[in-house]
């Protein structure tokens, strides 16, 4: 459990500097744990070498599931289970089924995709985020480098690389075991007994 506990963080305030810094750091064969930004920075995912998001595919699959369910539902209810003549139209009158099929396609695609996103990124109301630097949701970009994963370089070397590439500050950030596996209940208890500044995952 040594991994993912000891980090060094570089603070940037300009996203252009950040982008070139990320490229420089990765060229030196240093693995970046993650970058935290207050707003989406274009091409950051390319600079970090992430694969394109596969959310569109998820949306498409959920969408066709929705279409299929809608058509099956309407055909089975009005065409098979209890056929009725309505407005002189056939029992299974396809044009009339289009609106509901469309709506259900959108409903399934939207909810399926957002659900997938929440699941994949582990977003949930009772999650306690591991915050590297509180300013990353305000005005600073934070580059976090795992010291253990980059153990071929010393902390000083990493610090100077970050500084060379334009970081305004370089800090260290250590998490304990209980920080890494924070329990929401414990977090709430801590929050209310010790106040905002000290909780199971301090946010300073």
């Amino acid at each position: 459990m040594e991994k993912n506990k000891h980090f060094i963080t570089g603070v940037f305030s300009d996203h252009s500097v950040l982008l070139s810094a990320v490229k420089k750091i990765r060229e030196k064969n240093i693995k970046i744990h993650e970058v935290f930004t207050p707003y989406p920075v274009h091409h950051l995912e390319d600079a970090l070498g992430y694969k394109r998001s596969w959310m569109p595919k998820a949306a498409f699959l959920f969408g066709i599931t929705g279409t299929t369910c809608a058509i099956l539902m309407q055909v089975l209810m009005l065409g098979v289970d209890w056929p009725m003549i309505i407005g002189g139209k056939p029992f299974i009158s396809i044009p009339d089924f289009v609106p509901v099929s469309f709506e259900m396609t959108v409903l399934f695609a939207a909810f399926g995709m957002v659900g997938t996103f929440f699941f994949v990124r582990d977003l949930k109301p009772y999650k306690v985020p591991r915050v590297f630097d509180r300013r990353s949701t305000d005005d600073k970009h934070i580059v976090a480098i795992d010291l253990v994963a980059n153990n071929e370089k010393t902390q000083d070397e990493l610090t100077s690389i970050l500084q060379e590439s334009g970081a305004e500050e370089v800090n260290t950030r250590n998490f304990t075991d209980s920080d890494n596996e924070a329990s929401f209940v414990k977090y709430v208890v801590d929050l209310f007994s010790n106040g905002v500044t000290s909780s199971s995952r301090s946010l300073s």
């Binding site: 300009d14 252009s16 993650e34 970058v35 935290f36 930004t37 207050p38 707003y39 989406p40 920075v41 950051l44 995912e45 970090l48 992430y50 998001s53 959310m55 569109p56 949306a59 539902m73 309407q74 209810m77 009005l78 289970d81 209890w82 309505i86 407005g87 009339d96 089924f97 609106p99 509901v100 469309f102 709506e103 959108v106 409903l107 939207a110 909810f111 995709m113 957002v114 929440f118 990124r121 582990d122 977003l123 949930k124 109301p125 009772y126 999650k127 306690v128 985020p129 591991r130 915050v131 509180r134 990353s136 949701t137 305000d138 005005d139 709430v188 929050l191 209310f192 905002v196 946010l203």
Partner: protein, 473 residues
Amino acid sequence: MQIVSQVREPLVTGGKTYKDITEDICKPVEAKPNKSWLVAVTASIITLAAGGYFMGDMLWNGIGKWGLNKTVQWAWDITNFVWWVGIGHAGTLISAVLLLFRQKWRTSINRAAEAMTIFAVICAALWPVVHMGRPWLGAYWALPLPNTFGSLWVNFNSPLLWDVFAISTYFSVSLVFWFIGLIPDFATIRDRAKTKVSRLVYGMLSFGFDGSAKTWMHYESVSLILAGLSTPLVLSVHTIVSFDFATSVIPGWHTTIFPPYFVAGAIFSGFAMVLTLMLITRYVYNLQHYITLEHIELMNIIITVTGSIVGIAYITEFFIAWYSGVPYEQYAFINRMTGPYWWAYWSMMTCNVISPQLFYIKKIRTNIMMTFILSVIVNIGMWFERFVIIVTSLHRDYLPSSWVYFSPTIHDIMCYVFSFGLFFTLFFMFAKFFPVINMAEVKAVLKDSDSKVYKGRVTIPNNVVPDEDKVLT
């Protein structure tokens, strides 16, 4: 890096920094409610309660309390429904369609517009529910469950059922879209929180969002796909609302242009309502540097475009009614114009077609007072449009012996007032507890559109661009 041309106006003025954005938007959320907010909320709640008394009375005694009669069986209820749904189109339009068209100015208005959308859809959904007579049963009558749990199913051939699917899909997808947009901002408030309760509540609302690059990557993809889904969705909703009328054979209701024309009208009224609310919010929260004259002007242009589309649709309907040679169609339209409801027709024409044409004049579309007045006028006009379509087409039906003149009762009026109370109460709650501007998105466009980078609009009259602003040749 995105290159931005120098003829574009800045989206954020006043030399704001990233930090300033956080401060300016979070301040109203964190501060104690101010006096004007308290007055506004109290007024809304009083309106809600006053309307609520009549709404309750109507629910207790039945919809006989409304002025409906055997010829005009749909009047203010469905008018209000369509009007509110229409207003509920602008938010999704701004956040989805303008996102797809890369209109970056949407960033500072999309949050409030989406909130308004959701509240407007709630106010709209109220009408089909209360008109059911026993709304506590209506919840499952409208669902695809076998009737009385026997073997008869809901009628998928009915546009009213399509509406159930359309409105509920639209409401839930808009809510999700809005919430997705709020998550990063909730995280910002969480990380700044000074009190235990707000750290916990905003922390839970933020779903533990941490702004990591990987999350942002998926997040952006999700937003884009949601926009792609919402665009046809927003079109489909008002299309299906128009089907409620257009699938019938009533002259004045059955006309094929209804779907796109209703959609244009919805965007038209929705933008007007966004302007009405944003101009107030901008003033109360001092957001002049985020919602600039440029934003107001662009929204006015959209109002003019959609108003003109609606105008062309009116003329088309009128012309084709004559061209068709069908006497019933012809009568329905002559009756609209010159019959007992002539005043409603001409109010609609003046408010919807003529008044937005004033925005061709640059002085008017960049004048805040005029914009505010015209945005209210447009919404009055759009209410009359629905009233004209619905009541004037019904009040003289095929049997001249049943021709009547519809007059609203106090219950009609106060139930409508109730929906206003609901809308404004919800909106003011939103304006207090949620960030009214999407901080993350505004920050994302700040660098390319900072007023320090190029000149603010007030300094550039048409045609005169300073030499240093000219593009390299």
